[in-house]
């Protein structure tokens, strides 16, 4: 793996509060890495450290093999796009794009060439003479991306760039960003709290909590094989359903025992042998529970529909099962009135099993 950005043992303390804790992270050349987490998890802090806007308390940062830990932001070969766009309000779009180049004393023809190229890539040519106040949110964010683009940098840093846009525009720009990454093939580090953005854009996702990376993997693995309970509960909307229970091994067959019911774990690929009596948490995503569609031999649980949320393509059912509320996603055409009794069967091959004490995946 050709590393583009490498972070070694990075820590940052604000007074007594430790925001980043001995963090290691290697990002491959041309990779789109998303830092995902709820607010206060340290993801923006990490990005600001990479950008050189915050001084880490300890550890090192390498970009393209160069130790940049104490370098000024401009000397790191990075471009950054901010949530609030951060366009200079008194300058036209053109001046905004060229500001960094002018500061660096680049010759005029080269500046014009680069601005023209960025404007073409981002389709903001007609806006060049306007002031930021005369642009829409989407146009502003495009200019902000352009400002990173003209600097011809190795690494793009995005700090929640789409959070200020409305849902429709966010979806559009998400696609544009992905297209941009596919054509530029730059390394991109992208901070967000929106899991849809993370899942759709990322080559790999780093899920953070309390200054520690919980899991670093492809969106597919993160979604289907979360490493611990936090990641499992964080990714997916609505959240994964969790059932507490214990492992029972009978005649060599492992079962998950909860309440009075017993679910066979034959289809589950555990990373270790399942011992009888171990307290565990079973995690099943809403789309991996079948309603009234059990196959032969599937153990069936009885539940009652509490609320249904029709979402067009999908229909989300909130069911009562042994006093717990669980969510199930079914086809939008299938409608259930509140109070309807239903039969549930679980797709155990897609489920996740966690140790109740360590909260780690088994």
């Amino acid at each position: 793996m050709n590393t583009s950005v490498s972070i070694k043992n990075l820590s940052l303390d604000f007074g007594a509060v430790s925001v980043l804790k001995a963090l290691d992270l290697d990002i491959a050349d041309g990779e789109f890495l998303v830092l995902l987490g709820s607010s206060g998890c340290g993801k923006s802090t990490l990005l600001n450290c990479i950008a050189g806007l915050l001084e880490p308390t300890g550890g090192q940062i390498f970009i393209k093999g160069r130790n940049v830990t104490w370098l000024e932001p401009k000397d790191r070969g990075i471009g950054m796009v901010f949530q609030s766009y951060a366009l200079y309000p008194q300058m036209t779009v053109e001046k905004n794009l060229s500001f960094g180049l002018r500061i660096a004393g680049m010759p005029k023809p080269e500046i014009e060439k680069r601005v023209a190229r960025a404007a073409e890539i981002l389709q903001i040519g007609p806006l060049l003479k306007r002031k930021p106040a005369e642009l829409s949110g989407g146009q502003r964010q495009r200019v902000a991306i352009g400002r990173a683009l003209v600097r011809d940098v190795d690494v793009f840093l995005f700090d929640e760039p789409l959070s200020n846009l409305d849902a429709k525009l966010r979806a559009e720009l998400r696609v544009e960003l992905k297209r941009l990454h596919q054509s530029l093939k730059n390394t991109m580090i992208y901070v967000t709290h929106d899991q849809i953005e993370a899942l759709t854009l990322a080559d790999r996702i780093a899920i953070m909590k309390n200054g520690v990376i919980q899991q670093l993997d492809t969106p597919d693995v993160i979604y289907h094989a979360p490493k611990n309970l936090f990641v499992a509960g964080f990714i997916g909307s609505p959240s994964m359903n969790f059932l507490k229970g214990e492992i029972i091994v009978e005649e060599g067959r492992p079962f998950f025992q909860t309440g009075g019911a017993r679910l066979p774990l034959d289809g589950y690929r555990a990373s270790e042998t399942l011992a009888s009596g171990r307290a565990v948490v079973l995690g099943v995503r809403p789309e991996h529970i079948r309603v009234n569609e059990e196959r032969d031999g599937d153990p069936v649980r009885e539940a009652v529909v509490d609320i249904e949320e029709p979402m067009g393509a999908d229909n989300l059912l909130w069911l009562k099962l042994d006093g717990h509320v669980i969510s199930v996603r079914v086809n939008g055409a299938r409608r259930f009135a509140a109070g309807t009794p239903v039969r549930l069967s679980f797709d155990m091959s897609m489920a996740s099993l966690f140790d109740a004490a360590t909260e780690l995946r088994i």
């Binding site: 806007l53 000024e72 932001p73 950054m80 951060a86 200079y88 008194q90 960094g100 700090d159």
Partner: protein, 303 residues
């Protein structure tokens, strides 16, 4: 069918109780009080203007509220160019130009320094910057009288005592706490990401200040300018203490004209001189009232 149509038409148009009319009792009371207050404040100005346009015989009649029977601009001319203060008899004009020479550089220097201070304190936070700021603000609450004599010693040591540049230094120093507070709060309220973006773009301390911050600081510059122009123009104490008679500002000269004990009190000349002295701050208030209020609010909201 017809019944339904009537029903819907009744539902169209505004519903609920009508807003109160202009002449409700409450409004009459409010506007009445406002008018009384406005009248109370405008009255002295009226008396001053009217008196300054009268000749002395008319003033001696004693009716200060009556408009002048015979309008004369003689007192204004006298106040500007002939009134005597001590040895000189060239009126307020000398003081006017002294004040201009004091005010212009004092305002420019104090705003230039304070804006850089505020910018540094909000964006380039250094070790102990909060302590530094606190000390600066405490400075704003120490009465001027306490610092008067130490300041004299400092200026004497620097060889600036009694000179115009000495007074400019004094005004710059004493304007620093409030102006720095004003600029710091303004720059702190600007989005921090703007500053970060400029740093990523490669701009340094002065690059960001001149290219990004200064163009955005125009409103607060205007506010600071108003505060400083009116403050320094109206200054009396520093003008007396730190200069000599040749450099006395307008306010000091006004005092000398009005309080001269010899001869008859020329009320009309005194009034004209007072209005002339207050004309610049008055004009500033009238022309920039909106900015002034905004500035006071900007300085007051966050500490």
């Amino acid at each position: 069918m017809a019944e339904a149509a009537i029903h819907t038409s009744a539902l169209q148009g505004p519903q609920g109780r009508r807003p109160k009319s202009l002449l409700s009792p409450r409004r009459i009371v409010i506007y009445g009080l406002l008018l009384v207050a406005a009248f109370y404040y405008i009255l002295p100005l009226y008396v001053m203007i009217v008196t300054s346009l009268k000749g002395m015989p008319e003033i001696r009649l004693g009716n200060i509220f009556s408009p002048p029977v015979e309008v004369t601009f003689e007192p204004w001319v006298k106040a500007w160019s002939q009134a005597c203060t001590g040895l000189n008899c060239d009126g307020l004009s000398r003081g006017f130009w002294n004040t201009v020479i004091i005010t212009v550089p004092s305002v420019l220097v104090s705003i230039a320094v304070a804006s850089v201070n505020g910018y540094a304190l909000s964006n380039w936070r250094f070790r102990g910057s909060d302590l530094f700021f606190t000390i600066l603000i405490i400075g704003a609450f120490i009465p001027y009288q306490v610092m008067l004599y130490p300041m004299v010693i400092i200026l004497r040591t620097m060889g600036l005592y009694g000179s115009l540049s000495g007074l400019i230094v004094v005004h710059t120093v004493f304007g620093m706490p409030i102006l720095t507070l004003l600029f710091r709060n303004y720059f702190t309220a600007l989005p921090a990401e703007l500053f970060k973006a400029a740093r990523v773009d490669g701009a340094g301390f002065w690059g960001i200040y001149f290219h990004i911050m200064l163009p955005m600081a125009v409103p607060i510059m205007v506010v600071a300018m108003i505060l400083q122009v009116t403050g320094i123009w109206n200054d009396f104490l520093f003008g007396v203490v730190f200069t000599k008679p040749d450099y006395y500002p307008m306010t000091v000269q006004l005092n000398n004209i009005v309080n001269s004990v010899q001869g008859v009190k020329e009320y009309n000349v005194n009034m004209a001189a007072t209005i002339l002295t207050g004309a610049v701050p008055l004009a500033v208030y009238f022309l920039s009232g909106r900015y002034f209020v905004r500035g006071i609010a900007a300085g007051a909201v966050k500490g």
